[in-house]
């Protein structure tokens, strides 16, 4: 048995005649951050939805902890510890930090029909967890709307970890963030991996992916261009592969052409 937490082998997904994904293979190891890179339309969203149980793959196999499995719903993936943090984060900005943290999974106390939401316990867990990331929640009953984008992202990730995630799938966690906020989130992701989680980091930003990733899978037009270890890959090479080096070269030629015609 390998030390892979999850293996996705030769995953394909078709929508009618459209080939959304073809033969994508990814292995996620404990404590490793695997970056999934690709341009818009490369099939990132379809792949995430397939990994998190929203779509069923048409071909290929999913192996969790050495056992082959089929996800019938996102709930199945979640039960096996594969948690996805989507771009919209599933946070309600009018609700408090605590109420968001435990949304749908509230800690209870009491018996039978008198079971109530244990607000005090929830508050202390929420502020303790946020404190561990270095976010000082002065008042866990403050609305999430008052938090910054980075803090919200960390809250969503921390919630997934608290509820037993072994593999985290993060969908563009830094895309809407400024430089400082993004670095806070990336630091947290590295910490999470160091504590033994497997992380799939989906992004189109090489500058965010390269410093934190251990391996890189590049997706282009629904196909994997391969998985590369960091030691075999320079930032420039990654950048070139990701944007499609030819595309950039072509663009440069075209720009020069425009420039020339403008001058004349």
């Amino acid at each position: 048995m390998s030390n892979n937490l999850v293996e996705f082998n030769n995953i394909s997904k078709f929508f009618g005649s459209v080939i959304a994904l073809k033969d994508v293979t990814m292995h996620i190891k404990k404590g490793q951050i695997m970056c999934l890179l690709g341009d818009n339309g490369a099939g990132k969203s379809t792949l995430i939805k397939t990994l998190s149980g929203v779509h069923k793959p048409d071909e290929g196999e999913i192996i969790v902890d050495g056992k082959q499995t089929v996800f019938d719903s996102p709930r199945d993936a979640l039960d096996l510890g594969i948690a996805t943090v989507y771009q919209d984060l599933a946070l309600v900005s009018l609700m408090s930090v605590t109420r968001n943290f435990f949304m749908g999974r509230e800690p209870m106390k009491g018996f039978g029909p008198f079971k109530t939401f244990d607000v005090n316990k929830a508050n202390s867990i929420a502020s303790e967890r946020m404190g561990q990331i270095g976010i000082d929640v002065r008042d866990p009953s403050q609305a999430v709307g008052t938090m910054s984008g980075g803090e919200r992202q960390c809250l969503a990730i921390s919630r997934a970890i608290y509820f037993g995630a072994k593999v985290l799938i993060l969908d563009e966690p830094t895309s809407a963030l400024g430089v400082h906020q993004a670095s806070v989130v990336l630091k947290y992701i590295v910490k999470a991996a160091a504590s033994g989680l497997g992380v799939i980091l989906i992004t189109h930003n090489v500058h965010h992916a390269y410093p934190v990733g251990n391996s890189f899978t590049i997706l282009n037009r629904g196909r994997s261009m391969g998985t590369f270890e960091k030691k075999n890959l320079s930032r420039e090479k990654l950048l070139g592969m990701m944007a499609g080096g030819e595309e950039l070269d072509k663009l440069e030629v075209e720009l020069k052409e425009i420039d020339r015609t403008n001058k004349n």
Binding site: P74, R75, Y86, D88, L89, A90, L91, V92, S93, L94, M95, R99, F102, M103, G104, R105, E106, M108, K115, T116, F117, V119, R138, D139, S141, Q142, A143, G145, T146, M147, S148
Partner: protein, 372 residues
């Protein structure tokens, strides 16, 4: 030295933040507006109508009863609004529930208690229909329940005329006295206390020596009870968290496993059941049912909920706020008779109050959701 000064600086910074955050907590409570409004209304009538008998036991019971009737439906409407939906069929449901009680009892010979239970089961059906339509179709509840408003009112009128040949069903009074459950909706509470106060000469008496105000009406107790129950539900239960989540962001809520559809359907059942409680109180008080009962009550309930701090977009609000919204409504609608102001102006006041409340709420929402 530098470390020390830094730590002092940090500390003072913390204190400043704490203060701001406390003020914020106070300002961000949804019911703040309705509480403040109630105080203003009482001060106003205390000055203008303080010596007119408005605040005598009898006068107080009067305006409390009006507030309570509205409060019963406003609290349910507030929970639904926090859950992100409207119910415009509440008023029609009141009329429908009224004849569901009266027709079986008078024309079909059912015992009164069974026709009351029949009305409540019809309410569950109507609420379920509203809820399932909204959840399944994804249409705005505004449209779905607007349709239900007409369907229910029309059916109430048509069925009543078909069965009875008229639009009112009187004659329930004799049935109330021997009924095992009618007292839940019609009895006065604390009668002994009121009689005792009357005998001491502290409250006004009729000529036969019984006090003018005979006790606390059942509707007032329903109002208070429902406020406490709904507040407990919202603040202290898992279901309450789901209500906020469903109204705040239904996709997000669904993604983390909140059963949004079930929550919304149950809230629609809640408003229909509250309308039926309202109908029971009215029908058993008047001894008759009228097909036009509850006309426009759905809008009054929404006014009370909005004045009470509920956001029209869902996800924010409170049951206490709605209860105070109803209190403002009831106090002004009765109090205006004790002043020299022409009662025609009441609706102007109502509209203005709602506008102010919405503007105030909007301001609060921006405070709560905006970044620091």
């Amino acid at each position: 030295m530098s470390v020390k000064s830094k730590s002092i600086q940090n500390k003072s910074k913390d204190e400043r933040l704490r203060k701001v955050s406390n003020l914020k907590v106070l300002l961000n409570r949804p019911e703040l507006g309705a509480l403040g409004g109630s105080v203003l209304v009482f001060i106003f009538f205390g000055i203008v109508a303080g010596d007119t008998g408005m605040f005598s036991a009898y006068g107080t019971i009067n305006f409390l009863e009006v507030s309570a009737n509205l409060g019963i439906i406003a609290i349910a409407a507030a929970l639904l609004m926090i859950g992100g939906e409207f119910d415009l069929s509440v008023g029609s449901m009141i009329g429908f529930a009224g004849i569901c009680i009266a027709i079986p009892a008078i024309y079909w010979g059912w015992p009164l208690w069974s026709s009351i239970l029949f009305a409540f089961s019809m309410a569950v059906l109507v609420g379920y229909a509203n809820g399932i339509l909204v959840v399944r179709t994804g249409l705005p509840s505004f449209i779905v329940t607007l349709a239900m408003l007409f369907i229910l009112r029309g059916a109430t009128l048509a069925l009543t005329r078909l069965i009875t040949g008229r639009t009112q069903v009187p004659g329930l009074r004799v049935l109330i006295e021997n009924d095992p459950i009618a007292w839940i909706f019609s009895a006065d509470a604390f009668k002994g206390v009121f009689t005792w106060l009357g005998s001491l000469g502290l409250i006004a008496l009729r000529q036969d020596g019984t006090p003018l105000a005979t006790g606390i009406p059942a509707s007032v107790l329903w109002w208070v009870g429902m406020t406490i129950f709904a507040t407990w539900l919202l603040m202290k239960t898992r279901y309450g968290n789901w209500i906020f989540a469903s109204g705040g962001d239904k996709l997000g809520a669904r993604n983390v496993g909140v059963p949004v559809g079930r929550v919304k359907i149950s809230l629609f059942i809640g408003t229909a059941v509250a309308a039926t409680i309202y109908a029971c109180v009215q029908v058993l008080d008047a001894g008759s049912a009228d097909t036009m009962r509850g006309f426009l009550k759905e809008l009054e309930a929404i006014v009370a909920a909005v004045v009470g701090g509920c956001l029209l977009t869902g996800g924010y609000g409170s049951a206490i706020g709605a209860a105070f919204g109803a209190l403002i409504f009831g106090t002004v609608s009765m109090g205006i008779y004790y002043t020299d102001v022409d009662t025609d102006w009441f609706k102007v006041f109502l509209g203005a109050m709602m506008l102010i409340a919405v503007i105030f709420n909007n301001f609060i929402r921006r405070r709560v959701t905006e970044n620091k």
